[in-house]
Homo-oligomer: 415 residues x 2
């Protein structure tokens, strides 16, 4: 018997059926049909193979083109939407190639021709800014090589960070659509089919922006298209976990019809030339303030050469008075310090209180209605492309929909 | 002319009318009738006094009791609900005594007799764990001295942290109601009257828990009563900013009728004896994970003697793989490391992914559906009252409604 085999384990009168996984700490591990793993002490256990694992045949890198269907690129980076083959390699670790995604979701084949690109196989909590740069470059190449739209499969944990990063790095004439699944593809309640099919409809659409396409409700008939800079994972497990914050979604996609209902302004297909600005200053940090939090945490980052600090303050964007001298020192040493709020909803502004005014005097830049996570990514991008004063100015200017309503400025960069 | 006077400033053909505030950086500062301050360069400006400021007469510490009305204690700690007299001292800095609150909201006088206690005058972003201890002790004394219910006026920024802290420190036979206002009391759109009046109805009610009473909607007819451990400020400026997360509010209060509609289970009046457990381990930190965040941030806190660390992970409660050895080291050195999620909604559990299982092996405690902020406060309280192993066990046990649904355990402490 080998990993991937379907087996029955009998022990102490109990029977367990599932797929055999790599052992862990000496235990037999079975993936049950409900998607969960159990560990069984092998002592006294009896195993019977029901069905042997057969490795799938190697598929072609590019599916044969059919007339009249546009070419969509699928860039896979790992994540839940692509978890089924992980039976082979232990628990649920991302493993699907774009071809395997199409095999799993044949409905997609009716909608487009596809080109696949397995970029990484990284759980999204392990994504780093350097991965965002690689992702942007891969998408850029796919578009340059004729993709009518790009789908990026991505784990849901940090999808919002990645979509914000690509929003700043790419100017795209075609849709760039992040998609994932909250439930493993091997679980009966998985949302992967609806999300993946609807992401294809978006990739074929007129919405030439970096967006996230995920379930809009818990039912299977509607997927929301969120602007990449305004979206946040707001629930740990629900299928409709992704929400636009301080913005409405760009559009809704009906399933199975694929009909797209536009909810607001968006950049149209071919309205922009393809361009890429793929640099990020990784030395940027996001700090959440809490009562009693030591202001020396700011010094910790300054001492390590950090050039940008985004603070998640309280309320309208506050911290305790004892933080202010440390912030002032950071600003004076040339660090971009930006204030957001742990409330998430609303706008950092209208500072009528003492500490708010002291913060402004200390040189803090207010992030308007930007998400803390987006302000972090924007800091990384601005500091890699502009000098400090210009970065400070642009932090408060809407560049790619990250601030709502659209402000003026940023024109010198073509936004 | 002096600060607090109502004046007209004429300059370059423009006329400004408002209350004269202390000057700032050489500028004349006026508080306009819309609540905002403006600074005017005194050069060439002409000032005329319309009405002189008269300091209010000193009021009695306890209002005369009227027959048939219960005695409610108002403990004031600062914050927006109490901002009007700040005209005197510069911008909007908290200043109201309980008596001044009653003067501002005469409707409250019809509902109860009051005893006032001006505990602090602190903007809520400056509250520290030591203030929570003082608050708990003050409320304890008020109840011991016969209060039928206690109202705590508090700035909204950190109200959720304070309400969680008092939830753990106090066992109360009467209602303990936090209340505040999102808009300054001097602004026409202020929510202070409705919130304050409804907090009085709650203080007179049968709900003997630590709760937060704030606008339920943007209209003025409904106030929500949130359990102190489940509430979070989710909007920077809206009146209905406070929301129960992973729980329904305990009740709704109609305004102006004062009718209370109970939505779920609660601890009844006199069901518990008055007790206080007023210790907090201040050396506890809340860390938000972000892509690329340096794991040395954990070491920073360990080196400073921190005994509890709450991590706001991604998704179901994840961090990048490089954080795990640092977490393991923290746990092995005797630190309580707890995992929550930056999604806020949902439950940290069902770990089917590799990094999640590695985290459990590293000794991380999962915070179930607790708010990150509540998990921080709970760490402070547990580590001050229990040894490490018991603190670890109790972190996952529902003690005062912080975990939903109610779990077993904690009985040895009487919860």
């Amino acid at each position: 018997m080998k990993e991937g085999d379907r087996v029955i384990v009998r022990k102490e009168g109990k029977i367990y059926e599932g797929i055999l996984m790599p052992e862990r700490d000496g235990f037999i591990v079975l993936k049950l049909d409900n998607g969960y793993n159990i560990g069984i002490n092998p002592e006294g256990a009896e195993i019977e193979v029901l069905e042997e694992f057969r490795s799938q045949e190697v598929r072609k890198e590019v599916l044969e083109e059919r007339d009249g269907l546009p070419l969509i690129s699928i860039v896979s980076t790992g994540g839940t939407i692509a978890s089924k083959v992980d039976y082979r390699t232990g628990a649920v670790t991302a493993k699907f190639s774009p071809e395997e995604i199409l095999e799993l979701i044949p409905e997609m084949k009716e909608l487009a021709n596809y080109r696949g690109r397995s970029l990484f196989n990284i759980l999204s909590e392990n994504m780093r800014p350097e991965n965002w740069v690689q992702m942007a470059k891969a998408v850029y190449e796919e578009i340059k090589n004729g993709a009518y739209g790009v789908i990026i499969t991505h784990g849901t944990d940090t999808m919002g960070y990645s979509s914000a990063a690509l929003s700043f790095m790419l100017r795209t004439p075609v849709p760039v659509v992040f998609v994932g699944a909250q439930r493993s593809a091997d679980r009966p309640s998985s949302d992967n089919v609806v999300n993946a099919v609807c992401s294809t409809h978006v990739a074929k659409s007129n919405i030439a922006e970096v967006v996230v396409a995920m379930h809009h409700t818990t039912s299977d008939d509607l997927v929301a298209v969120h602007r990449g800079t305004k979206v946040r994972k707001m629930h740990m497990s629900r299928r409709d976990a992704f929400k636009s914050i301080n913005a409405t979604p760009v559009a809704l996609v009906e399933y199975p019809s694929g009909k797209i209902k536009v909810l607001g302004d968006y950049v149209k297909r071919n309205e922009r030339e393809l361009e890429i600005y793929p640099k990020l200053e990784e030395k940027c940090a996001l700090l959440k303030f809490f009562p009693g939090s030591p202001p020396e945490i700011i010094d910790f980052f300054i001492e390590r050469g950090y050039r940008g600090i985004v603070i998640e303050g309280t309320g309208l964007g506050h911290v305790s008075a004892e933080w202010i001298p440390h912030i002032k020192e950071a600003v004076e040493s040339g660090v971009l310090v930006t204030m957001t709020s742990q409330c998430l909803f609303g706008r950092v502004c209208d500072r009528v209180y003492d500490t708010g005014r002291d913060l402004l005097r200390a040189g803090v830049v207010e992030a308007e209605d930007m998400l803390p996570e987006t302000a972090l990514v924007k800091s990384m991008w601005l500091l890699a492309h502009y000098d400090l004063e210009e970065a400070k100015r642009l932090m408060k200017v809407n560049l790619v929909g990250e601030i709502n309503p659209r402000s003026t400025g940023g024109a010198e960069f073509g936004f």
